[in-house]
Each structure stands twice: as C-alpha cells, then as structure tokens.
Amino acid sequence: MNKLLPVINFTFSNKLKTKSFVVTTIIFAVLLSVGIHLPYIIQLFTGNESTESRIGLVYGSQPEIAESLEAMIAKQPDGKIKFVKYEQANEQALTHDFENGTIKGYLEFGESVGLQFPKVTYTSKKEGMDLTLQSVLQPALENVKMQYVTRGSSLTDEQIAAISAPVVIEEQKTERTAGTGSAADTKEDPKPAVVNYVIVYGLIVLFFMTNTMTGNMIAAEVTSEKSSRIMEILVTSVSPLTQMFGKILGMFLIGLLQIAIFIAVVAANLALPYNQASLAELNLDLSQINLQIVIVGLLFYILGYFLYATLYAAVGSIVSRTEDLGQAVMPITMLSLAAFYIAMFSLSSPNSMLLKVCSYIPFVSPVTALLRFGVGDATLLEVGLSLIILLIAIVFFSWLAAKIYRTGVLLYGKRPTLKELRKAMKAYKI
C-alpha cells in the first residue's frame, strides 16, 4: 500500500503538466467567466439603446384615449418611452421626423364604433415593434381600454383596479407524510428554493462532465502505458490493483482540482459588484442553499465517479492501441449519457416512477437519486438505500475491473472478446 502514494503523486503531477489539461482548464474558465458576464453584457447593450425611445402619438380623432395613454405611460417608473404629440396624421411631418431619428415609430388610433375600443396601429420604419416596447405598451393600452369601456358606468376605481389586476397562481406543495419524521420533513420551504434546483442541475452537469473527461483520461492513460510497453515494467513493480486505484485516485484529484478552479472562477466573477445585481435579479438567494443536498450530492458524485472510473480503467486495459479506445469506451459513454438525459428530462417531474426505479440502479443512481432528494420527495432512508446499493456495485465492479485489468494489461494484439478474456483469466490463474 505504500506504493499507492507514488502512483497517485505521479499520475497527478504529470497530468497537471500536460498541455491539454492546462488548455482545457483555461478554456473552461474563460467560458465560465463569459457566461457569468452575459446578463450584464446584454444589459449593457440594450440599456444604452432604450434609455429613451421616442414614439409619435397621433391624437387625431381620439384625443381622449391618447391623453390617458400618455398619463399611463408617464406613471411607469422607468419611463423609457417618450411620446411626441401630433395633432393630425400629417404624412410629411411624420416622415420628416422619421428621417431625423426624432421618433422610432408612431401610434395611430382608428375610428371607434359604439363601445368598441378603436383599432391601434403602430407604424415604424423597418424594425417593427421590439419586445420591450410591446411589453410596455400592451398593458398600458389595456388599462386605457378598461377606462374607456367602463367610463360612465357605476364601477368604482377600486373595482376597475381589481379587474385589471393579473391573476397570480401560487404554487404550494403538501408536506411529506408526517409519520416518517426525518430531518428533511421539517424543511421550512413549502417548495424547494430555486437555488437548490440550480445546485442539483449544476451537480448533474458536473458529474457528467468530469465523469466523461476524467474517465476518458484514465482509459487513455492505461492504454498508452500499455502501448508504450511500460506496463510490463509497472506490473513487475506494483500490484495491478494498487496501480489501478492509484491512477483513479490521482485522476480524481485532478478532477477535484479542476472543479475547485472553476468554482473559484465563478465565485470571483460573482463577487464583482455589477454581477451581484444581475444575480439578485435572477432571484437566487445563496442563503437558501440546503446543505444536506450539497453533502448528499457530493457523496453521490464521488461514489459515482469511482464506479465509472473502474470501468474506464478496465476498458483501457483491454485495448492495446489508442486508436481503438474510442470504440471501446463507447458503451460506458452511452451509459453515462443515458443517466444524464434521464436526469435532465426528469428535472421538472422529480417524483416520476422512472426516477424512482432509476435511483436504485447503480449506474444511473448517482444523478437520479440526487435529483429525487434535491428537488423531489425522496427521504433520507431511500437515499441511504441507494447509496448502499451503489457501494456494493462499486466493490463488485472494482473487483471485476481489477481482474480484467490484471489480465488485460498483458494481452496484446487485437481487442479480445469476452470469451478470450475469460480464457486468458483462467490461464493466468487470476
């Protein structure tokens, strides 16, 4: 066992020095920084543009409506729209102002028939109505319409206000069965906080990404050791089991380091004052983070990693040439992809039967059980059961992988079939 440390150390420090590692880490860090700045950057651009949109307002035959619309818009806090009044739809004056850029477009009202609200026409040069403008004008006009239609009726202002208020649907979840009495039941939130969704989502993506990345690195390392024939020297120095776990642990540390770097990058970016504002806008409250979810998530993350890593190592040991590796790891990649998509598609329905079943199947359980626990209704007991199954699977697959590894590293030539592998195992007395 005292050889485990040198193996971990060697794997870790050499991976750290490779260009590919440095480059991918930097690229990801840059992408993350850009991603975080995106809301701010967008704000910067749109903000500049729409500080003041001047819009022509043709009073024409409906001065009353025009006036109340103006009043309504003026009441709005951000006041991004300014009206320029025109008594009549004077084609010449309007075109002139278009050309000058004084106005972006103009509103015109048609004739009203009886109680009906007149037709509203917005004329602009080319761009059409942009979304922000519409989102301001639409409710304003609706309010004006309300006033126009109810004018002279017996409705009080209060009643009108009540009618025009939008309906809010509030979501609430019933508490879990009171009998189980686990700590999770006493969560104060009736509904998981948004930030927990974000954490679960982030952990799933992280799991998938690091799993595929480090897994492929492990397999590639093993294969290259085999193809460069250094394996023959290594197996005479260290037991294959030590070698395999040293490699897996070394890569795991690399993965952790990478994650730590990414988290640091994210934290540094979020700490910038102007980003804090946009974070607040997204309604994320970091104080709402449920620590339990984070711990369970990390537990599943680590165990899931080991389960996949042993398989990647075993597959890497069977292949003799790096060219054949892609094909060989395909089944494992598919498996992790399946787990990823099951989790992603179930994000909105965390209590489905599919997830319930999946959370007890070792290869998909790391993500699905976390999902159920994080945003669904799984109890700690269920999570514990899932963890135990996962642990048993890890022990079994490590044992199997070590056997395959022991046999595989000495087999050269074409990729052996399962039958050949079994035969070789028997021959080597492993």
Partner: protein, 301 residues
Amino acid sequence: MAKPLVLEQVTKQFGEKTAVNDVSLQVEEGEIYGLLGGNGAGKTTTMRMVLGLIYPDDGRILYHGQEYSSELQHKMGYLPEERGLYPKIKVSDQIIYLARLKGMSAKEADKSLRYWLERFEVPDYYNKKIEELSKGNQQKMGFIAAVVHKPKILILDEAFSGLDPVNVELLKATVKELRDEGTSILFSTHRMEHVEELCSNITILQRSNTVLQGKIQDIKKRYPREEVLLHTTGTVTGLEDISGVERVERRERGYSLRISDVAAAQEILRRAMEESTVEHFEIKEPTLNQIFIKEVGESHE
C-alpha cells in the same frame, strides 16, 4: 546458500497450447544465464513466470530457496523485449518514479540515476523527455530503469537489439560489471556471439521444450568439428577426392571445407602443403550459431 534463481520443471499452458513445457534451470550468484530460442519458443513466457507476472501451472520457481512473494519485486529488475518508457515525461521523473515503486526512497533513486547517467556519459539527459532521445538512447534509459534499484536478479530480454556497436560494447561491459558485483542475470537474445561472450550456461528452447542445456564448452564438445579453413598462396586441386570431405567452397584467399571425419583434416593439410604454400589452417570449432541452427532449424528468424 540457496541459489538465487531455480526453475524446477516449470510448465505453462495457455488453453490447449503449451507455452513452456517442463523447463528446469538454475542461475548462480554472479552468473549470466543464456536463454535462447526461436520466436515463440517460450522465452518471454518463462521470463514472465520468473517475474511473477503469470504463475506456472506445474513445477515451481524458487528465489534464494523461497517461493515468489511480492517483496521479491524489489529485488528484481526487468528489461522487456519491447521496451518502453513514458514518451512525454522527463527521464528523471519517470525513472525515479519506477525506482520508488521498487521500494527506493526518492533521494536514493536520484543518486542512483545520476550515477547511471554519468556511467553512460549522458548526464544531460536528466531533464530530457524520452521522445526527444534517439532510439538507442531510449534503450539505454530503459536499461537504467531496469537496474536503477540495484536488483539482485536481473532479467534482460533482448538487451542489445537495436544498438550500435559502440553502445553494445558499453552495455556489455555494464552487464559484466553487474555480474561481477554478484547480480544473477537471466539473459535472452538471438545474437549468438553475445551469448558466447557473456554466458557460461545456456538453455535452448524450441516450441516450448528444452532442446539443449548446459555449459557452452561442454555443448560445443558434443558437436563434431566439421569445418576446415585453408588459406594458400596458389590453387590446390583434388580436395574433393579426399575421403571424408563433403563439400569444398572456394574463398577469396583459399578454401572452406566441410568434413564428416576429423581425420580428413590432416590429409587436407598434407595435400595443400604439397601443392602450395599454406598461410593459414584451422579446424574450426562449431559456433553456437551453427549449433543453434542445427537444433532449432533454419526457420527461427
């Protein structure tokens, strides 16, 4: 004291195919033991069994009188036939790593590595990557990796292949030096002249069986001397007619004759002295190469 390495009737089967059949040999302390054989004769399998990579189906292997155990890994050095090191990693990093896996401390390993680089007159390779070195120099690094931890038992599979004559001499001298320091060396090669120079005992394997074993001198005595080399100033006629001469080949400066009876050699010399002036006359000992070809057949390479 028990011998460093003893193989007793070792047999290994892969499925139906027998890779090594009933092989026994003993390597003394400070001895280079030659393991010869054509391709696929079972040399590598035998070496792998000695290294404990695979276990024999039958028979046993003893190291200083003891069965294999993982502690033995520290005492053994191995230079595989298809040698390799990490191409993209510095010489110092990987050799120190390998030495540490063999139970050395990092400091000792560093010292030993520097000694060996100095010994091979390439101290500047310490900070180079393997892929930057020529093939021959990579091989030297592989050799260092095999001996850096001062093994008691050294297993060299085709140690000199692919090296230029200068480096072959350098490595040969090193191997002899290790032998004189008491290392037991199991040595496999296709090059018979190396065996003749280095080894005192050999085993020739063919299709998993031992076909020849023993001291080189004893083996050679068992084979009749059947080649005569004759250098004369003029031509010698009628050599073919001497009884016991099988074949006469004209050479640049004389003749090479194959005889079936050593007595014929005297007759050849008399005839040559009668007809011309003899510059050189030799009844040649069979070379190991000839013995090998005779035993293993022409198809070994």
